[in-house]
Symmetry: C2
């Protein structure tokens, strides 16, 4: 069953204490689809790039089964570019630059073949664009949405307009606090639920994720890794794994949401072990399954 | 089977956004024993107070089954006093003052009845004092030790002298990073294991705890609470619950350590719901068991 992801495809300039990449393949839609493809064989990407975007990157995605017919390529414009620097503890990053380029006039038109996704992922993007995509598709089984502090601060009204149409909001802890105005994440999750999304997933980086759904909480840790190279895209890959898993579920209920959360966390853990999306290129389903078993050992409380 | 805890008994001045307490009952040994008593009926406290310490507080502890025969009461001296202020997000606190008073000349002499504990808890204290207690008792089944940034910075040599004799070090994440010189907690845990303790428990406050034991990791989240009043003593109560649970185990192995971690987390969650040790006063075993079941729901991955 299909996963449709709208978001960015970008050039990322990444700097961590362990290395650097210039013009690496990046963007929320890229990470979401690159992760979702492990769980779904119908993964569709909606995004825009400029004429400077290399065929090699298109091939990196297409060869991995991602449907790129929704990738608009603009002549005479440049691809969205982001540059960031991570610090030694990897929990904080500085954005060095954000060149919107093609993104500043992105008005995606969804084609017929993409209008009935089972799972719709609204990757981090202007909520106006997210809203327009939502309005163009038939009601999916689940609408999953990400956002960031920029939209919370600059377009709160647009964001609050879309939230009632969202089933599941996936945001990080500082964003959950900012959106709700509440430091306590339990209270913050409740307040966000009051804004619309009945499922709230709070990503906490190295501390894992907290999900509030069906009146209860579920937590999953981050997989303890000794060698973290680059956290870029981990949150988007998490969302892709989460969405991809749900696309294969007959029913979306608490158990399938819990499993989806673990699948998302497992895929995110592979992402951070390498730079950019490199950790997702040659990853196998068997490796993901093995890590999910490790998650079970990591968290299962013995009945002593 | 017995738990012997050496540490502080103190007057705490606590200020959080939700209230204030002056001269509240506090101290690491108090919290450890107050928590361990739920799992063990032989809990012994080793600490020192001044003649200003009220009988009422002694009764608060004694009436809950804590053996206070190792509590030294010094004439003409004042009880150790600490004052701290928590901020709105409760993850950070400022120490307002630390009046060592009786603590500056604390040289505990362990009496015959306390020399064969099953579990020895070395609460946060000068490592020289911790070492002297360790040298006075017969080898326990497990030696559990806490420390803090002050001792890591000011008496690193004394600390490194005691670590090889410690089975389990329980410290918070920033202390683990400082002690090991490593930002990555997986690497930090390995480096700490090289210093002696084969079990490392890293407390992460609202993010739960990470345990490294028998070559593997285990995680437990903090219980998601809507109403946190005061984090004071949560780490010590955690250690007390952890130690108390282990004192009742025939064998200390990975499964019993995992269960101990969950018991410690459950008791810590009750601590933070009230000021000082108030949340532990009338707590029942049934309430703790109920919360442990909730922890299982919170973390158990369905086999979908």
């Amino acid at each position: 069953m299909s996963v449709l992801a709208v978001g960015t495809v970008a050039f990322d300039r990444i700097e961590t204490p362990f290395g650097k990449r210039e013009r690496a393949l990046g963007g929320s839609a890229m990470y979401i689809t690159m992760a979702a493809r492990f769980m779904s064989d119908d993964v569709q990407l909606i995004a825009v790039v400029g004429n400077d975007f290399p065929n090699e990157y298109i091939e990196d995605m297409r060869s991995r089964g991602i449907d790129l017919s929704g990738l608009e390529i603009r002549k005479d414009e440049l691809t969205f570019a982001w540059g960031g620097r991570y610090h030694y503890d990897l929990n904080q990053r500085d954005t060095i630059y954000t060149d919107l380029n093609v993104l500043s006039s992105f008005h995606p038109v969804i084609s017929e073949g993409h209008k009935e996704p089972k799972v719709l992922c609204l990757g981090n993007l202007d909520p106006v664009v997210q809203n327009s995509v939502l309005d163009q598709v038939a009601r999916p089984s689940i609408v999953i949405c990400d956002t960031m502090n920029y939209w919370i601060e600059h377009t709160p009204d647009q964001l609050k307009k879309i939230l009632p149409k969202v089933d599941c909001l996936v945001i990080n802890d500082s964003e959950a606090r900012e959106l709700s105005g509440e430091p306590n994440l339990v209270v913050a999750s409740r307040k966000i639920r009051d804004m619309g999304p009945q499922i709230v997933v709070v990503k906490k980086g190295e501390h894992g994720a907290l999900m509030f759904a069906e009146g209860t909480f579920f937590t999953v840790p981050a997989y303890p890794l000794e060698d973290i190279q680059d956290p870029t895209g981990a949150g988007d890959a998490f969302m892709g794994g989460f969405a991809g898993y749900l696309s294969g579920c007959r029913e979306i209920n608490l158990d399938s949401l819990k499993s989806a959360l673990v699948h998302g966390s497992a895929i995110a853990s592979f992402t951070v072990e390498h730079f950019g999306p490199e950790g997702l290129y040659d990853l196998t389903k068997a490796e993901i399954e093995k890590r999910i078993k490790a998650f079970q050992l990591l968290t299962s409380i013995p009945s002593v």
